[in-house]
């Protein structure tokens, strides 16, 4: 039986894990040497956009963030953060979506325009925390977050034509016709008939969404966020000092740079993150003062998961001297039998992921054994359902 030659994208998808595995074998002896540097870098470069950018530069975001949905609620939220003496309270956590205030009843047609999509996907945040070392000073963060592009969204501009076509087809299938296919009027007094049609329409809608998300879970997406932080001396608005500023971008793309409904290309994704932060010497921040970023490629099927990533950092010290570092990690994991996943790899990310599993060293490579998949947090596997990497 002669097999058809693989398509170029499929070859890419196969060669990718092979290259990772080969790299793992060739460079395994350097893994330990890398470890010292990469421990910090894997924590610095996260392949996600901050959930509340206002807090990115001033501390941990609180569990509870107030999200007003009307101008009145926003004003109330802002006023409640200011004391009678005109000082800012510590512990303010606000996030507002301008689209909800300006266009609270945006319809799907408007949402699927570029302007409507951008408006609906912008959020502004404000946070305040106690400044480290001084209970009377307050650090304030302002943040903005936006999804500029998201082809994974079944309601977004990218799905407009496909959604309309699919759903109009479903509609025709749901409405009553006679034996010749001629439409028959719905009996509006027949509650059972109307209920059945509604259920059919709802199924058609769900079918389209599920199909779109399954095929496009790894599709192109781009998100931006930025933050600025200041310190208020004595929590007063007229005594501010600049603390820090930062901007971050996260992009996603299909492994083979096009969306497909099956094959290996459907199971992989590229993620790229880049960020720039500038910290004033006033803020004793442990965060990098410069550019950080990374690229990650993943491939995940029901039986094999592979990832490879390269992280970089170029920071500038207070003295003005610049330092750079680079760290890569890679891992290969496969289902060896029922309830037994074996993984091998190198780099700090791989060490983090397999920390709790049992390890065996063979031929200079460390093999980890686990009852469950351990790469799940970095390698999305579509079979578990749609995973949209870009938060709204």
């Amino acid at each position: 039986m002669k097999h058809a030659p693989w398509s170029r994208p499929a070859r890419v998808a196969v060669l990718f894990p092979a290259a990772i595995a080969a790299t793992s074998l060739a460079l395994s002896t350097n893994a330990g040497a890398q470890q010292g540097d990469t421990v910090a870098l894997t924590k610095v470069v996260q392949f996600s956009i901050p959930s509340a950018p206002a807090f990115e530069l001033i501390g941990e975001a609180p569990d509870k963030i107030t999200r007003p949905t009307s101008a009145r609620a926003l004003a109330a939220g802002l006023l409640s953060g200011i004391t009678a003496a005109g000082k800012l309270q510590q512990g303010v956590a606000l996030e507002v979506a301008p689209g909800q205030l300006l266009r609270p009843h945006m319809d799907l047609d408007e949402f699927q325009t570029t302007t409507g999509f951008l408006l609906a996907n912008v959020s502004l945040s404000l946070g305040s925390v106690r400044a480290s070392g001084d209970t009377s000073d307050t650090d304030v963060g302002f943040g903005i977050k936006s999804v500029l592009l998201d082809h994974t969204d079944p309601d977004g501009p990218a799905s407009r034509d496909a959604g309309r076509s699919a759903i109009m087809g479903a509609m025709l299938d749901c409405l009553p016709v006679d034996a010749n296919g001629t439409p028959v009027a719905i009996d509006r007094a027949n509650a059972a008939q109307i209920k059945a049609i509604k259920a059919c329409v709802s199924r058609g809608d769900s079918t389209f969404r599920t199909s779109w998300q399954r095929t496009h879970w790894n599709d192109y997406a781009l998100s931006l966020s930025a933050s600025n932080a200041v310190r208020l001396r004595g929590s007063r608005f007229d005594r501010t000092s600049e603390l820090a500023a930062g901007v971050w971008a996260l992009a996603a793309a299909p492994l083979c740079f096009r969306s497909v409904s099956d094959g290996l290309c459907q199971h992989g994704q590229w993620l790229a993150k880049v960020g720039y932060e500038h910290h004033d010497s006033l803020g004793a921040s442990s965060r990098p003062n410069g550019v950080t970023g990374g690229v990650r490629a993943t491939l995940g099927t029901a039986k094999v998961s592979v990832f490879g990533e390269d992280l970089f950092e170029r920071v500038r010290a207070v003295s003005g001297s610049a330092t750079s570092r680079n760290a890569w990690s890679a891992g290969l994991e496969f289902l060896a039998g029922e309830g037994m996943w074996i993984s091998t790899g190198i780099g700090s990310r791989y060490d983090d992921l397999t920390r709790s599993s049992r390890a065996v060293v063979l031929a200079g490579l460390r093999f980890n054994v686990s009852q469950k998949q351990t790469f799940g947090s970095v390698v999305p596997v579509p079979r578990f359902g749609p995973q949209v990497p870009m938060p709204r």
Binding site: D107, D109, R164, L172, L175, A185, S202, D205
Partner: protein
């Protein structure tokens, strides 16, 4: 089940316009009948583009409109407009809205 009533001149053609305020993921079907005793006749179906069709219908007749909407998170609205000689009939402007999970709206306009 109350229907809207539109005052019609039986000797003039009736212009029936479906105007979707939200343009995507929605569809409609129209049926007409000449009297309460007549069967419904299929007139037209389409998606969410604005569409107009013209036909004579006598007083005592009726129009049944069926609107389907698909997205639960977004409000939908459409208007059914009945005109003769370019003039909107008394009672000939019917707003059709589908908040939340309505998905399907079936109603009638009776011609008097």
């Amino acid at each position: 089940m109350a229907s809207a009533h539109a005052k019609v001149n039986g000797s003039l053609p009736l212009e029936i316009t479906v105007d979707f305020q939200s343009k995507h993921h929605a569809g409609f079907r129209l049926f007409t009948r000449d009297s309460a005793a007549s069967p419904w006749k299929f007139l037209k179906q389409g998606d969410s583009d604005t569409t107009t069709t013209s036909m004579p219908l006598p007083p005592g007749g009726a129009i049944q409109y069926e609107f389907i909407f698909f997205k639960e998170d977004h409000p939908f609205a459409a208007v059914l407009i009945l005109k003769q000689n370019g003039v909107t009939l008394d009672g000939g402007m019917v707003a059709v809205t589908a908040p939340g999970d309505a998905l399907l709206v079936v109603d009638q306009v009776e011609l008097v």
